[in-house]
Every structure is written in structure tokens, then in C-alpha cells.
């Protein structure tokens, strides 16, 4: 029975997707209800899995779908971390999306693909082999495209085209990489890493470049980041999910898997590949921050911030040593909850006050205090101001860099923190300390049925990011959880 639990994780969003597609618009309430219900059931299931996993049980379900290619779903500790994050944020984002769109055209399509997107993200998380990972990774690309172009205007369509071009090229490189490696060393199971010793060094390096290059597209590593700021044309709930758990995280998660579960951190270091990857990640961190400073559009600023922040994860993965690995994994969680907060707030501001540019933000704190308070927590977290979660990530990444003997990481983190302040503090200044432009009346944020769900989800994730930092040493915090995973040797 327990073998089918991983399958159930995928079935739930699939059913939710089918219901959403099939439900006529007149029954939109039922669609909303079933979406929330399925998200809740999945959260309960994840909770059950968490309890089971405490006993050290890994769930696995396998099926040979092509000769020699096993389709393996495996819920290990890292997968569970990612699944918990995505399930929790799925529920939040679903509630937010329902409030955001209210009743509009094409919502059946939207929620259908929204669920498929979550299915793919879950699949990516619990893939047991590289080829399974690839299948879900591809599905994710295809399921996200209709969301990116949801508005259907010129800008969205262009963004969608760019998105597909980038990600399909990346997928091709990634597929070439895994097939090549599989031909050389046999099945690439994350739980049972292949023996790479017979493969010539140069080939290993080439394959590594193919794999990381392919995954780097979704993780928005320089120079493959171009699609991400354009994808801002998508509606806010999509951006929120895309940036927090779905697409960019799938890329970062894949890089973690490749570095730690296919190659092994030791091998990566021996091949001399860790340092160049760390440099690439650092360059992306600084470049993304630098570009973010220049944006006047709030969502674009957040998008470049994502480019920068996701590379923290890659940086942590590429530095050898357990502390850096803790930093990478914990930032996977922290960045997710902080960034989804920021995007949901940006969406709420655009929806209620039609504020889209930084320069229009004056006095927003007085008009929508709850939203801006959530935004402030998220932004301070991104800068790394304690006690918000971002500080914990940066602390571990910095310590990891020192542990690995790469003290220059501190300079990158410091530079990034300065740039983060440069692009977030002016927003907070405008929102809280300047008087509002024009004659907006304060928005009734917490009244009016579903309307409040535009505000509350961000408040919940903001509190979560505050809690994850403030109570970082509490037994069930992301940090403690990640430390357990790393101590237990899940990452080699």
C-alpha cells in the first residue's frame, strides 16, 4: 500500500486538473472548492508521509516504461522537503489565485494547467532517476507555457515564445547529457549513484556542462536567464508560483541532484568543476542584483531578484562541504516562501491600487498596511536582515564558503546584500515614509469575503519566513530539518 503513496501525490493534482478542465464555467464555485480541497488533501498526505519518514522509511514506486528505462518515484528526505514546500505553497497560491481572478475568461484552462504545473513540480521532486526527472521537467515546461501566455496579449505571447525557446533548448541539452551518461555507466538512480570511474575525465566534464547548462536555463543561470524577466507578462499568481517553487526551483533542485546525487560533491570537486560553477553562480547573483536595481517595474525588479537569489542555491550546491549544502537546501525553502510573499503582494498592489511601478508606490503602506507589512518582511529577508529567514541562508552559505576555503564567497554575499538593499529599501521608503500620490482611499484589506484572500496568503507566508528565521534552531524549522538531512548523509 505504501508503495502507491508517491503515486497518490501525483494523482491528486491530476484529478484536480481534470476537474478544472471539465467543470463548466457556470460551476466555477465547484472548481474553486475542488481545487482547495485537493490541495488540502495533498497537504494531509504530505503530513502523513512526514510522520512515516521520521521512522526512516523511503517510499518507492517503479515501473519499467521503456526497456532499460525505469520510471521511479521515490520519496526520500530531500524530495519530501521540496514536496512539502510545493504543497504548502500550492494551497496558498490556489487560494490567492481564486481571489485574484475572481471570475474571468479562460479560468478553467488556467486552473487546469495550474494543477498540471504542480503535478510536474511534485514529480520533479520525487523522481528517483534522471530520466524520470527529465519527463516531469519537460511536462513542467509544457504545463507552464499556457500559464505564461494566459493573458493572450502580444507581450505574453512573445514572453511565451521566448520561454519555450530557452527551456526546450535547455531540455534538449539535459536529455543529451543524461542519455550519454546512461550509455556509459548504466541507469542514473539518485538513490544508487553510478560508478563514474571508468568514464574519461573529459567526457565527464562535457556531460556535466550539458547537464548543468540544460538545468541552468530553468534556474536562470547567467547567460540563460533571459526568459525569466520576460515571463513577468504572466499574471501574478503564476509569477508567484513560478518563482517560488515551480520552474526556477526545478532547475535549482536538478542542479542539486546532479551535483550531489549523480556526480557526488567529491567528484565534482576532483574534476575541478565546483569552482567554475560557483563563479558562474556568483556572477549571476551579482548580475541579477545589478539589473534589479535598474528596474522601475516592481515585478521586473522581483524577477531579476529571483535570478540573483536562485543562484544562491546553485552557489551552495557547488561549494564542497556540508555547511554549504545546508545553506543551499535551506535557501530552497526560504527563497520560496519569501519570494512568493513578494509576488503575491505585488499582485495585490496591482489588483487593488493599480500600482505597478516602483515610482507609484508612494504611501502604499498607508493604503494597504497588511500587504506592505508582508512585503516588508519578504524584502528584509531577501536583503538578509535578521531575524527573517534570508539571514539564516546567507549565514550558512557564507560559513560553507569559508569551510570550503573559498573566502571570496563572503565578498559575493556582502556585495549582493548591498545591492539587495539598494533595490528593496527605496521601495520600503516610498511605501511607508512618503505620502500617497493622488487621492486613494485606504483599501479595506481584510473585509469582503474572498477579497481578503488577496492579502491573507501573503501575510501567512510572510509570517512563515519570519518564523523560519526567528525560530531557526527550533526542532521543526527548515534549518533543523535540512541539517538532519545533510547529517544523515543524503547529500554526498
Amino acid at each position: 500500500m505504501t508503495a502507491f503513496l508517491p503515486l497518490a501525490l501525483l494523482t491528486l493534482p491530476l484529478v484536480a486538473a481534470l476537474i478544472s478542465f471539465a467543470m463548466p464555467e457556470a460551476r466555477a464555485v465547484w472548481r474553486d472548492a475542488s481545487n482547495i480541497l485537493f490541495a488540502l488533501v495533498k497537504l494531509a498526505l504530505v503530513g502523513f508521509l512526514l510522520l512515516q519518514a521520521q521512522g526512516g522509511v523511503d517510499f518507492e514506486w517503479r515501473y519499467e516504461f521503456l526497456p532499460g528505462h525505469d520510471f521511479v518515484l521515490r520519496v526520500d528526505a530531500i524530495a519530501l522537503l521540496f514536496v512539502t514546500l510545493s504543497t504548502f505553497l500550492w494551497l496558498i497560491a490556489t487560494i490567492y489565485a481564486i481571489a485574484y481572478f475572481e471570475r474571468g475568461p479562460n479560468l478553467a484552462r488556467f486552473f487546469g494547467f495550474f494543477n498540471l504545473c504542480v503535478l510536474s513540480a511534485t514529480g520533479v521532486a520525487i523522481s528517483g532517476t534522471a530520466i524520470t526527472f527529465f519527463l516531469f521537467y519537460e511536462l513542467l515546461t509544457l504545463a507552464t507555457w499556457p500559464l505564461v501566455v494566459h493573458k493572450g496579449d502580444e507581450k505574453s505571447l512573445t514572453a511565451g515564445r521566448v520561454y519555450l525557446t530557452y527551456t526546450l533548448a535547455g531540455s534538449a541539452a539535459f536529455l543529451a547529457g543524461i542519455l550519454w551518461l546512461k550509455a556509459l555507466v548504466g541507469p542514473l538512480e539518485f538513490a544508487a549513484p553510478p560508478d563514474l570511474s571508468p568514464v574519461p575525465t573529459l567526457t565527464l566534464i562535457l556531460i556535466f556542462v550539458l547537464l548543468i547548462g540544460g538545468l541552468g536555463v530553468k534556474a536562470a543561470l547567467l547567460p540563460f536567464h533571459g526568459w525569466l524577466p520576460q515571463a513577468m507578462a504572466a499574471p501574478a499568481p503564476v509569477s508567484a508560483l513560478l518563482h517560488a517553487v515551480a520552474v526556477v526551483k526545478a532547475g535549482a533542485y536538478g542542479i542539486l541532484r546532479v551535483v550531489h546525487d549523480i556526480y557526488g560533491a567529491g567528484t565534482v570537486a576532483d574534476l575541478g568543476l565546483g569552482l567554475p560553477l560557483a563563479f558562474l553562480a556568483s556572477a549571476t547573483i551579482l548580475y541579477g542584483s545589478l539589473r534589479a536595481v535598474m528596474q522601475n517595474d516592481i515585478k521586473k525588479r522581483l524577477a531579476y531578484s529571483t535570478v540573483s537569489q536562485v543562484s544562491y542555491i546553485v552557489l551552495g550546491a557547488s561549494l564542497a562541504g556540508p555547511i554549504a549544502a545546508v545553506g543551499a537546501l535551506v535557501h530552497l525553502v526560504h527563497q520560496g516562501i519569501m519570494k512568493i510573499t513578494l509576488f503575491m503582494c505585488a499582485g495585490a498592489l496591482a489588483n487593488r491600487l493599480h500600482i505597478k511601478a516602483v515610482t507609484e508606490l508612494d504611501g502604499a503602506g498607508r493604503l494597504m498596511p497588511v500587504t506592505m507589512a508582508s512585503f516588508t518582511i519578504g524584502a528584509l529577508g531577501m536583503i538578509g536582515v535578521p531575524p527573517v529567514a534570508g539571514f539564516i541562508s546567507k549565514w550558512y552559505l557564507g560559513s560553507g564558503g569559508l569551510e570550503a576555503g573559498d573566502a571570496w564567497v563572503i565578498a559575493v554575499l556582502a556585495g549582493s546584500s548591498l545591492l539587495n538593499s539598494a533595490y528593496f529599501l527605496p521601495l520600503l521608503y516610498r511605501a511607508w515614509l512618503l505620502p500617497p500620490q493622488g487621492d486613494h482611499a485606504p483599501v479595506a484589506e481584510l473585509t469582503g469575503g474572498w477579497n481578503r484572500m488577496l492579502v491573507l496568503p501573503a501575510a501567512v507566508t510572510a509570517l512563515a519566513s519570519l518564523g523560519a528565521g526567528l525560530f531557526a534552531s527550533f526542532p521543526f524549522s527548515p534549518l533543523e530539518w535540512v541539517s538532519l538531512i545533510v547529517d544523515a548523509g543524503y547529500l554526498r
Partner: protein, 563 residues
């Protein structure tokens, strides 16, 4: 008080202001919270007095497994700050009673207070860092409280330097903690730094990060513009208590007991340079609050100069920290009282104005080190660890201190006849004057182990006070012949720096897609300067700068990876 767990009292010291801060957010209650300001520091005061030295409290699930503790030095800092915060809070409750931004003021006041208390009781680097960030960032709204263009400019300078200081501290703590084998306890980090093979870079990151807050020359440029920009009670705590967060950090983290000839001498030079230059710059100001702010830079320069000497000679902590704590206590209370006094100068009753001037004069002379005063006691103590040259410099500095404080007396605004000082403000000021003039005598025996004897060698001390006498004579002579003090711009180096920065920012904004109404123009109240030819070139370069930086990083990285 007996019966309350000391550890609980200590945690209440930090958490009580935070709780009050949360109340300030409530729409109805918020504006009224200004009257509750004097209550906020009371647990801190109680902890400083009643909690025994060595009280510790672990907060194992907070942050990175943090904790708080109290010892004698910390108690002096905590107690001094709590007295000042209480009385300044009382003053503020009346001063800002009808202010339209009272709720915001109360909120940030409480947050800064919580941070300030946290700095003094943090047992680990993470708690210290959180508290320090709270102090640094939340003081910004206090600085720009009146939203005047000058305040906004001062705030911009302040926040930029504060963030740079935060980042420097973050790097220092990371490296220090890594060197200490992952421990984040302040004691462990300090002991590791005192061990062999410590990277001076850590030391200097600490000095930079903490020195910015403490006004170490030349990182002081924010201080003479930011402290006067805030409302009077906020200026008092900024200059009296908040700069002490930087000083306390230096005392807590620097590796006392090991010799650092080069770093120590450099720090001593910077400190003593500040002692004299800032005092002279202050004597050339016309705003009494700016004069006082420069005097703060000067006095903190003295403390950091002594720190430098102690580092250079390898003086142990026990011989240094209590003395500097005493000096900081005296300066904090006196400077706070002087600021409150400046705020009252125009509303003090006409007929008792001589009494008011007498009080201000007494504070000023005490600060300059007149024999028999509390200031002389602190100054005599601080000469001990300062070494021969340092002691001579400190003795001579009474001249410049005297000049800057004489300047203060001449810049005080005159009384307006139809106003009376509100009793609450009067009480706060008088209480703080008494505290400032007596506190060093009260705690002297407890923290230095010997009883104060201000009358010993009195004749010698009076002779040694000649620089102060000279200052008084000079000031009196200048006043008699009607000589005008020279004028220096507030923030000395700031103006040239600001012009350069504005130029750079204009170029930077030219490349962003920000429209004409850019961030800069609203933040500094300057129209965006029209682009000159040079700026166009800069902008054109900057357009490609981001790409160029990225490519340089990548290619550099790959290059180094290959070799």
C-alpha cells in the same frame, strides 16, 4: 524586585519594548503610545540594577541557538542607556504629544530601544547582529521624522553608511565564527581572534562595521548631519545611547590582551584625530545640535583612540573595559542631558534662565573634564590605559573640548518670553542632569574596585587642567571682542562626497528605465541635474557596465579555475 528570576528580567529588558512596539501599530492605540515611552526601558533599568553579574539566559531555539547575558561592563552600558532612554522618553512623551507622526515615532523608538538593549545583553554574534540591525535600520525613520529636505538628505547618508556597516559586520561575524570553529558566542569569537594567526581583515571589518556607528573618523560623516536632524529626544538617545552600541561592540569583540602594533596604532591615530578634528569642526558650527553631534564624534574618538592604544600595547580586557564603560556612561548621560537642554533653551522661563545656563555650563565643564566633576573622574580613569602619549593627548584635548562646548553655549537659542517649559520635560532634563553629574561617582567603586577620590592631588589636577582654562579664556576673549566663529559646512567631507555621488547616481539612473521622476530627486529634494557631456559618456558606459561586469566575472572565474 526580589523574587523575579534575573534571567527573566533580562529577557524582558529586550522583549518588553518589542511588545510595546506591536501596540504602536494598532490604529486606535498607536498615537497614544507616545505617552508610554518612559515605561519601555524600565525592565532594562531593573535588570541593570538588580540582575547579578553573570546572569545568563539561553534561547536555544531562537535564531542560531542564541542567548543573552549580563556582566559588570554590560550592566554599566545597559543601566546608562536605560536611564537615558527613560528620561528622554518622558521628554518625548510631552515634546511630541501633538505630533501627527506620533504613532510612527513611538513604534520606531521602541524598536530602536529593543535593539539597543539587545546589543548590550547579546551573548552571541547572531543576537548581537539582529539587535544591531534593529538599532541601525529603525533609527532611520527617527532621523527623517520631520521630513524636511535636510533631514531626508541626512537620512540618505545615514542609511547608506548603516547598511554598509551592517554588511561589514556580517562578513566579520561569519569569518570570526568560522575561525572559532563554528561557535557564534561572542566570548569564543573574541578568544579566537586573540589567538595566533588571526586575519587582520576580520579585525578591520569589525572596526569598520562598528566604527561607522560610533563615528570613527573618517566614517563619521553621517553623524553630524543625522543626529541633529532627529527630534530633540531622539537626538539625545542617538548621541547618548545609540553610538554606544558601536563602542560596546568594539569592546566586546576586539581581541584584548594581544598586541596588534600596526592595527592598534592605526586605530589610535584615527581615534585621536577624531578627538581633535571633530571638536574643531564642531566649534565652527552654528546649530547647537550640530555642535553637540561633533562633540560626540570627538568624545567617541577619544574612546576609540584609547582602544587603539590598548590594542597596540596588548592591554588585557580587565584593565580596559570597566574604565571605558565608565567613560561611556558619563558621556552618554551628559550628552543626552545637553541635547534635552538645547531643546528647552527657547522655552525656559526668562527669570530663571541663569539657573538653566548654570546647569548647561556645569554639564559642559564636566564633559570637558573640570576637576572635581564626574567628567574629571572619568577622564582621570581613562588616562590609565591610554599610555603616556595618549594621556598627554587626552589632557590637551580639554582645550578643544572646551572650545566646542563654549561654542555650544553661544549658539543656544534665546528664550521666547511667552512660553513655559512643560513640567514633564523640565523634570526629565533636571533628573538627567543629576544622573549625569552623579552616576560616575555612584558606580565608580563598584566597577573599578576602588572608591573615587576626586580631591586627591587636587592642586596638581588643577594645574593639569590648564588647557580647559585656556579654552574658557579664549572663548571669553572671543566673545568680549565680538569675534565670529569660523563657519564650516555640516558634515565636513559630506558635501564634496555628495556631489560626486549625485553625479554617479544621475548616470546610473540614466541607464535604468526609471522615468524622469526618479528615486533620487524625491529623496534628496534636488532636481535631477541636467546631463553634461561627461555624464552622457558615463551613462553610455554604464549601459554596458552590468554586462561588462558579468563577463569579467565569468571570464575571470574560469581563468582562475583553469590555473
Amino acid at each position: 524586585m526580589i523574587g523575579i528570576e534575573p534571567a527573566l528580567l533580562l529577557s524582558a529588558a529586550a522583549f518588553w519594548p518589542l511588545a510595546l512596539a506591536m501596540l504602536c501599530v494598532l490604529p486606535k492605540l498607536g498615537p497614544r503610545m507616545i505617552t508610554a515611552l518612559p515605561l519601555a526601558p524600565l525592565p532594562a533599568l531593573a535588570a541593570a540594577i538588580y540582575a547579578p553579574s553573570g546572569t545568563e539566559f539561553g534561547l536555544p531555539w531562537l535564531l542560531l541557538d542564541g542567548g543573552i547575558r549580563l556582566d559588570d561592563t554590560r550592566a554599566v552600558f545597559l543601566g546608562g542607556a536605560a536611564i537615558l532612554w527613560t528620561l528622554a522618553g518622558l521628554y518625548a512623551a510631552r515634546y511630541l504629544q501633538n505630533d501627527q507622526r506620533a504613532a510612527g515615532f513611538a513604534l520606531f523608538w521602541n524598536l530602536v530601544l529593543a535593539g539597543n538593549v539587545g546589543v548590550f545583553i547579546a551573548a552571541d554574534a547572531a543576537t548581537f547582529y539582529v539587535s544591531f540591525a534593529l538599532v541601525s535600520l529603525m533609527a532611520y525613520p527617527l532621523v527623517i521624522h520631520d521630513r524636511k529636505p535636510a533631514s531626508l538628505r541626512a537620512g540618505a547618508v545615514y542609511i547608506v553608511l548603516a547598511v554598509i556597516g551592517e554588511v561589514a559586520l556580517f562578513a566579520a561575524f561569519l569569518m570570526g565564527s568560522a575561525a572559532a570553529g563554528g561557535s557564534i558566542l561572542i566570548a569564543d569569537i573574541r578568544d579566537t581572534l586573540a589567538g595566533p594567526g588571526t586575519d587582520p581583515l576580520i579585525l578591520w571589518l569589525l572596526i569598520a562595521g562598528l566604527g561607522i556607528k560610533a563615528g570613527l573618523m573618517p566614517l563619521h560623516i553621517w553623524l553630524p548631519v543625522a543626529h541633529p536632524a532627529a527630534p530633540i529626544p531622539a537626538s539625545a538617545v542617538l548621541s547618548g545611547a545609540i553610538v554606544k552600541a558601536g563602542i560596546f561592540g568594539l569592546l566586546a569583540f576586539l581581541p584584548w590582551g594581544t598586541t596588534w602594533p600596526i592595527s592598534g596604532t592605526t586605530l589610535a591615530l584615527m581615534g585621536f584625530a577624531g578627538l581633535f578634528i571633530a571638536a574643531l569642526l564642531g566649534a565652527a558650527q552654528s546649530n547647537p545640535k550640530t555642535v553637540l553631534a561633533y562633540s560626540t564624534v570627538s568624545q567617541m574618538g577619544l574612546i576609540m583612540g584609547v582602544c587603539g592604544v590598548a590594542l597596540a600595547t596588548g592591554l588585557p580586557a580587565a584593565a580596559l573595559l570597566p574604565i571605558l564603560a565608565l567613560y561611556a556612561l558619563h558621556h552618554g548621560l551628559t550628552k543626552g542631558a545637553l541635547f534635552l537642554g538645547v531643546g528647552m533653551a527657547s522655552v525656559w522661563l526668562r527669570n530663571s534662565r541663569p539657573f538653566f545656563l548654570l546647569l548647561m555650563g556645569a554639564l559642559a565643564l564636566s564633559l570637558a573634564g573640570l576637576p572635581l566633576t564626574a567628567g574629571a573622574l572619568a577622564k582621570a580613569a581613562v588616562k590609565g590605559p591610554a599610555g603616556e602619549i595618549g594621556a598627554a593627548l587626552i589632557g590637551f584635548s580639554a582645550l578643544t573640548s572646551g572650545l566646542v562646548l563654549a561654542r555650544l553655549m553661544f549658539t543656544l537659542p534665546s528664550a521666547t518670553p511667552d512660553k513655559n517649559p512643560p513640567p514633564a520635560m523640565m523634570f526629565a532634563f533636571l533628573a538627567l542632569v543629576i544622573a549625569a553629574l552623579s552616576a560616575p561617582f555612584v558606580v565608580y567603586g563598584q566597577i573599578l574596585g576602588t572608591d573615587p577620590d576626586p580631591t586627591a592631588d587636587l592642586a596638581k589636577k588643577i594645574v593639569e587642567a590648564w588647557p580647559l582654562g585656556l579654552a574658557v579664556i579664549l572663548a571669553a576673549a572671543a566673545a568680549a571682542v565680538g569675534m565670529q566663529a569660523p563657519r564650516m559646512p555640516e558634515g565636513d567631507l559630506l558635501e564634496p562626497l555628495r556631489r560626486t555621488a549625485l553625479l554617479a547616481m544621475a548616470a546610473f539612473h540614466a541607464m535604468s528605465d526609471t522615468k524622469a521622476s526618479s528615486d533620487i530627486s524625491t529623496e534628496t529634494d534636488d532636481a535631477p541635474p541636467a546631463l553634461t557631456n561627461i555624464e552622457r559618456i558615463q551613462a553610455a558606459f554604464a549601459d554596458r557596465a552590468a554586462t561588462a561586469v558579468a563577463f569579467a566575472l565569468i571570464s575571470g572565474g574560469l581563468f582562475f579555475a583553469l590555473i
